[in-house]
């Protein structure tokens, strides 16, 4: 097992995460440590309820560890305030959710503009141009002014990818991005991911889809709250699959 020797974008040190359920405490992550370097495409796999999404939430600062340290893009996210995390996420992390999570009130174009608005990145004109360009890139140029409810799940997920790229973040996190899509659409979405990584982004994706996972250069498997496998297949994602 080997990893590229670039500076780590994500560094997780001995992270433990426990939840209180009634009078019991359940530990989801049991001392997890690993690093992800810039430009890597990592797939996190494992059965449901074993801590994959929890680990992802730790990386994005959505959840906090019970103990341990999480350094992402050089920031100790386990120590940051909610507002600092929000601002940091807007700049450094693009998140793609399983259920797309588009704001229903906004068109696809506006959904893509939104992170730029919130982060005050680019001029208003540049925001529109960039959002239109990103939607073009994901093949939705002609659907830009439709509301999320008017397009298919696959199209929503493509728009969500465009949104995740809006502020040009170095790290993209995707939580079961193809979980709600059919096989063909899943492959289309995955192709977009490889395209994104080929542009130098770092990508971490949680997936159940074994076939997709096999196409990712590095696979991290979590079982019962521990990393049981961290395998670098060897071919960089941007080399083509």
């Amino acid at each position: 097992m080997s990893v590229p020797s670039t500076a780590p974008v994500v560094e997780i040190r001995d992270v433990v995460k426990s939840f209180a359920v009634g009078s019991n405490t359940i530990t989801i992550l049991k001392g997890v440590s690993f690093k992800v370097n810039a430009g890597e495409f990592v797939s996190i796999v494992g059965p449901s309820g074993n801590g994959k999404s929890t680990l992802l939430n730790m990386i994005t600062g959505i959840d906090r560890p019970t103990s341990g340290e999480i350094i992402v893009t050089g920031k100790p996210v386990h120590k940051m305030s909610e507002d600092a995390l929000a601002a940091w996420r807007g700049e450094q992390v693009g998140i793609i959710f399983q259920f797309f999570q588009m704001l229903p009130a906004l068109s696809l174009l506006q959904n893509v503009i939104l992170p730029m608005d919130l982060g005050s990145r680019y001029s208003p004109k540049e925001r529109r141009e960039r959002a239109a360009h990103l939607l073009d890139m994901v093949g939705l140029g002609d659907q830009a002014h439709k509301l999320p409810a008017m397009v298919s799940g696959g199209q929503q997920q493509r728009a969500a990818i465009a949104r995740a790229l809006a502020n040009d973040p170095p790290l993209i996190i995707a939580d079961e991005p193809t979980g709600n899509l059919d096989s063909r659409t899943s492959h289309d979405v995955f192709d977009l991911f490889t395209n994104v990584v080929s542009q130098g982004k770092t990508m971490i994706m949680v997936t159940h889809d074994k076939e997709l996972a096999r196409r990712v250069p590095r696979v991290v498997e979590i079982l019962d709250g521990k990393i049981t496998r961290d395998e670098f297949i060897g071919r960089p994602s941007w080399a083509g699959y």
Binding site: N57, T60, G61, I62, D63, E82, D83, A86, A87, R89, G90, E91, I95, F97, F99, Q101, L103, A105, L106, S107, Q110, I113, L114, P115, D117, L118, G119, R163, A166, N167
Partner: protein, 800 residues
């Protein structure tokens, strides 16, 4: 423009019903603020300005003897007197048509209407009266529905004479005809002569002092009274006026303050809906907040989105309420000012009220929304995603379990859900109930205030064992008046009491000379006509010599208690010593009601050396119904006038009751209107809460639909939930009103009417409110309930 605004717009437009409810609710409170504060601002300031514009006299003195212009000039030279304007005033009897009964009025005579110094009367239409015609006070013209060219029949001596109206005149100090049936007319000096008002001689003076102060005016008045006493001229009455403040202020000031307080209460009730709605909106959009945070939105950015929504609610409410509030404020102000004979025709918007409305519409809802908005905006992404799915906390508390058991025992399963749903969002339930309970308590309080006023008036009138009171305008012999009055069929018994203007002296100082002034009244020994409500001591008894019963206000102001000696200055009749044996509560004091000091009539005769005379006639009739008493009153007045006894004013108990009912009716109506506004806000709040409930429970409705629930079951569930809230609010409002109605009636009675009311809780209002709240809650829940029945299984389960 930021795309965030698209979301704000979407929330407003997509939730049109919610937007309309919140806007209407804020608008109701803002409207009440605008109407009440606008009215108070315009009313009191315009009253004062109109008052100052007519150069009101500081002192008005009525004399029992005519004086000439030279004597008036002498008064003007008394130290402290700025000037004195003489005039004549006398009681007259008039009617419109020959077949009408005679009515009482006042004729005022100035020798030169173009040369007035004080209390400027103004010609509004036509010309000043000349020999052979009259001027009519414009309120009188309005009440009688007559105009220039019409004629009024006057009783002049023993003849009737129709005099044409030459002009409509405004007199700044006439009582509103709705308050007192005593209309004013104007004549020139020749016209006055026909009414026994000698040309060039006067029976009243308008006086100003310099420099003005209330105390100095009283001091100067004392000098003037002494001056007249030395010439054996009697001062019948002395009135004082604040030159800066309109006399009607005492009626309106406390009343407007109470209305303003209630308007603020209405506003707070209406912003509760803002709190409720924003709480629900935030809960409903927790997921969206999570997304916004996940893509870089911080707390402030998210709070700004929702506060912008609230700000727009406020702008819409202001646009709706500001013009309506200003219109109503102007309308109420105009009608009140017209009641006080003040013109108010140019539409004006109170800047103060508008400023308050802007604050109430824009700032207050933002403050109300701040808590739920910041709580929601502070939520973490994980909490936002994990907590999505609503009402999952129901069943965790003891109350929830008790409610669940109660519902299971009393109701079919699907309706038991309604009971459970009621307690699902306890915070929202509490706030909605707060509005409904406030409305109910206000309604019951106002109704109890109204019934307390009725009860107080009833107990006062029950103490009156007479049916007619007549002011004879001078002292007449008791046997003469008695002989005339008992000739009228239906008169059972009469009492002629000696009354005279008096000044109470304690330690040599004049302690009571405010308002219309105090007067002393002689009560014949063994009189069973009337007994006031005694606070301490006792009522006058046969055999009492120099005993006096005074009002509690006089006792308090002059620090006199039962057993103390007081001196009464009866002006030209001299000073006399009395001992206080009782202190009474006049109940409705202030305003036109003077503080009357009751003493035994015999002792008063002795003290004044005026034996067997009286000026105030009390009559007990055999039939007591209004129509019979009114007929007897007319006959009595006619007979007395025919026999040379002047009747200035004569009022039956029925007429007095009507006047009281009118005065208090206006106030109670206003209070009731505000209670209705709060009740409407309560209905809107309930509708809003149930609409939100429907949205929150879309999935649950879908599940119920999927397992076979029909539309009427869904409809019934939501209507039942609304009605249960209404009934629950009623169950709390009734005991609450029982607790607070009495102290509130006492405070309101004292503040607004200067009266200690006999409290009477209005039990029939409890039933009326139950019916009202059932109607409100059924109507308020019908729309959201209907909305719930429109939800399909497919839609509801797709909802996320």
């Amino acid at each position: 423009m930021s795309v965030i605004w698209t979301k704000v717009w979407f929330d407003l437009w997509h939730g049109k019903a919610r937007t309309a409810l919140v806007v209407l609710s804020i608008a109701a409170g803002v409207f009440a603020i605008g109407a009440m504060f606008g009215m108070a601002d315009q009313l009191l300031s315009t009253m004062d300005a109109a008052h100052q514009a007519v150069v009101p006299a500081h002192i008005k003195i009525a004399l029992d003897t005519f004086i000439d212009r030279d004597a008036a000039r002498v008064v003007a030279h008394i130290p402290g007197v700025e000037n004195a304007q003489p005039y004549n005033q006398t009681a007259v009897r008039y009617k419109l048509r020959p077949e009408d009964p005679w009515r009482q009025g006042i004729v005022l005579v100035l020798d030169d209407y173009d040369d007035q110094t004080y209390e400027m009367i103004q010609l509004k239409e036509g010309r000043w009266p000349l020999r052979g015609d009259i001027g009519i006070e414009r309120l009188a013209a309005q009440a009688l529905q007559v105009g220039i060219g019409d004629s009024i029949i006057f009783k002049i001596g023993n003849t009737e004479r129709a005099l044409p109206i030459a002009g409509k005149i405004r007199h700044p100090f006439v009582p509103p005809p709705a308050f007192l049936d005593l209309l004013f007319f104007f004549m020139d000096t020749e016209g006055g002569e026909r009414l026994d008002l000698p040309n060039g001689r006067f029976n009243a003076l308008l006086i100003r002092v310099t420099p003005y102060s209330e105390d100095y005016a009283k001091e100067v008045a004392a000098r003037i009274k002494d001056h007249f006493a030395k010439q054996e001229i009697g001062v019948v009455s002395t009135q004082y006026q604040d030159p800066a403040k309109h006399w009607g202020r005492m009626f309106m000031e406390a009343f407007t303050v109470v209305l303003q307080v209630l308007a603020v209460v209405s506003l707070f009730m209406s912003v509760i809906l803002v709190y409720n709605t924003l709480s629900a909106l935030i809960t409903q959009q927790t997921n969206q907040i999570g997304i916004l945070k996940a893509i870089g939105g911080n707390t402030l950015a998210i709070a700004r989105i929702y506060l912008s929504t609230v700000f727009i609610y406020g702008i819409l409410a202001l646009a709706l309420a500001a013009p309506l509030g200003a219109l109503l404020a102007f309308g109420i102000t105009q009608s009140f000012l017209n009641l006080f004979n003040i013109d108010y025709d140019a539409f004006r918007v109170s800047e103060t009220a508008l400023g308050l409305q802007v604050f109430a519409a824009l700032a207050v809802p933002l403050v109300a929304a701040a808590l739920p908005v910041f709580q929601g905006a502070r939520i973490t992404v994980r909490q936002a995603i994990a907590s999505y799915g609503l009402g999952g906390d129901f069943g965790s508390s003891r109350l929830d379990r008790w409610v669940e058991r109660l519902g299971a025992r009393l109701l079919p399963a699907h309706y038991a859900t309604a009971l459970g749903n009621l307690f699902r969002r306890k915070g929202r339930l509490a706030l909605t109930l707060l509005v409904l309970i406030t409305a109910g308590t206000m309604f019951l309080m106002v109704q109890s205030l109204s019934s307390s006023i009725d009860a107080t008036l009833a107990s006062i009138f029950a103490q009156h064992r007479y049916d007619i009171v007549s002011d004879l305008g001078g002292q007449y012999r008791v046997d003469r008046v008695s002989e005339i009055a008992t000739q009228v069929d239906g008169v059972e018994k009469i009492e002629l009491r000696f009354s005279h203007a008096a000044t109470l002296l304690v330690g040599g100082a004049r302690t009571k000379e405010a308002g219309i002034g105090s007067s002393v009244m002689g009560i014949p020994a063994g009189s069973d006509f009337f007994q006031p409500f005694l606070v301490t001591g006792r009522w006058l008894q046969p055999g009492d010599a120099r005993a006096a019963v005074i009002t509690k206000d006089v006792a308090k102001k002059s620090k006199v208690k039962v057993g103390d000696a007081i001196t009464l200055d009866l002006n030209e009749l001299g000073e006399t010593e009395w001992q206080v044996v009782g202190i009474y509560d006049p109940v409705f004091a202030g305003g036109f009601n003077p503080d009357v000091i009751y003493v035994p009539q015999e002792a008063l005769f002795e003290a004044t050396n005026k034996y067997f005379r009286g000026a105030t006639l009390y009559v007990r009739t055999r039939p007591h119904d209004d129509a019979s008493v009114s007929a007897i009153n007319t006959q009595l007045k006619e007979l007395l006038e025919a026999r040379g006894v002047r009747v200035v004013i004569s009022q039956t108990e029925g007429e007095t009751k009507k006047t009281n009912a009118f005065q208090f009716g206006i106030i109670v109506s206003f209070l009731l209107a505000l209670a209705v506004i709060v009740a409407l806000v309560g209905g809107i709040a309930l509708m809003g809460a149930l609409s939100i409930s429907v949205v929150e429970r879309t999935k649950e409705i879908g599940v119920l639909r999927a397992v076979g629930a029909r539309s009427r079951t869904i409809l019934g569930m939501f209507v039942l939930e609304g009605v249960l809230q209404g009934v629950l609010s009623w169950l709390i409002a009734v005991p609450l009103s029982l607790l607070v109605a009495q102290p509130m009636a006492s405070v309101l009675g004292n503040v607004m009417f200067n009266a200690d009311l006999t409290f009477q809780y209005n039990w029939s209002a409890v039933g009326v409110w139950l019916v009202t709240i059932l109607i409100i809650s059924t109507l308020a829940s019908a729309l959201p309930a209907r909305g719930a029945t429109m939800i399909s299984v497919r839609d509801s389960l797709a909802y996320a």
